[in-house]
Symmetry: C2
Subunit: 216 residues, 2 copies
């Protein structure tokens, strides 16, 4: 294996997996994280997508993330809020920091140098650990931490949601998105009304492609 993909089961990481499989056919494996997220259905979907893509998928448990932070992605008793100019209440401080660091340790154990992650700084959310500057800085830190040469690839970093839809069409893997999970309400069929569903639908609408996902 040459590549480890961080696969959450969402639209972006599924698209990222398709790109990795295109770039390194037969050389890809995937990892997901169980961190007490509100919707563990993401991991079920990530497994299904891995099966379709014919890549091995591993789930690593990181319970400390939910014990460290209070936020609405992991705590069912907190409402999901997103005030203008503030980080959304779904923010887990350092979440991508931990995902990438753990994935890097796992990759090194398997002799893998290349990591693919679907983080995207054009994303609406404004998470600081999705930015390109952060990923480049962390790659350097990880290399120094482990005396290794990681190559972290972020094919979606500067794309809009519409462009990631187009990318998946070009890769010929649009049907994988039927299994990807986006809905913040955790619904399958998806609710089609939460901010995450609306952003997803807007992307498909802009490029005039039908979302293969089922909606209520």
């Amino acid at each position: 294996m040459k590549v480890l993909v961080l696969l959450s089961g969402g639209q972006d990481s599924t698209t990222c997996l398709a790109q990795a499989c295109h770039d390194f056919p037969g050389e890809v494996m995937a990892v997901g994280f169980d961190y007490g997220q509100r919707h563990r259905i993401e991991l079920t979907q990530a497994q299904r997508i891995s099966d379709i893509a014919k890549v091995p998928f591993e789930v690593i448990s990181l319970p400390f993330i939910s014990s460290l932070t209070d936020n609405s992605l992991t705590r069912k008793d907190m409402p999901i809020e997103h005030k203008e100019g503030e980080l959304p209440s779904t923010f887990v401080d350092g979440r991508n920091l931990f995902f990438l660091s753990v994935a890097a340790v796992r990759a090194k154990q398997k002799g893998v140098r290349i990591l693919y992650t679907g983080v995207c700084q054009t994303d609406y959310s404004g998470y600081p650990d999705c930015r390109d500057d952060f990923v480049k800085s962390l790659q350097q830190s990880l290399n120094l931490a482990m005396d290794y040469e990681f190559d972290i690839r972020t094919p979606l970093m500067f794309l809009t949601k519409a462009e990631t839809v187009r990318m998946m069409e070009t890769l010929g893997k649009l049907e994988w998105l039927k299994e990807s999970h986006t809905c913040y309400e955790g619904k399958r069929p998806a609710c089609g009304r939460c901010p995450a569903c609306l952003l997803r639908l807007k992307g498909f609408l802009e490029v005039g492609i039908k979302d293969p996902l089922e909606y209520e």
Copy 2:
């Protein structure tokens, strides 16, 4: 509180705690990590040292570290080995990376910017994530990950073991080292024969100061 000290209960982190308490009296708290290490007695000692120093001490569980890596610090069935020119078998890939990252998230939650850690690149062990270049790089990555301005201080980075003993004497806190734990065999009184005990004793011997720790 202004400062969070990473306290393992060993000689270096205990010395680091003394320095932090000297620099910021009454403004220090400490954190330790339970990661399936071979000798949990370290954490018991870290609690005792915190009590003596009158600083609050918190233990955060990171079980994923031992599940990620196979090594003799966390697995009792592996012998402790250290071949010339190789990393010792006690190496946990990315251990300090995770300790510092988790401590940083916790610090930010408490409104703390300054972290003290006793990592030391003159140490015999050659762990890559104890080096100054790594810590400086990670500080930058953590700042970018969380949109925050951490200040990671490493007062022991370029000291020999003998110099850290002298430092503790100058700080007037030599007696704290009676409670610090070093022995790789997990013994109290310490065995005095394992590589860790021998290195510690050599440091005291070089500056002509008696180690307050009890030995067999």
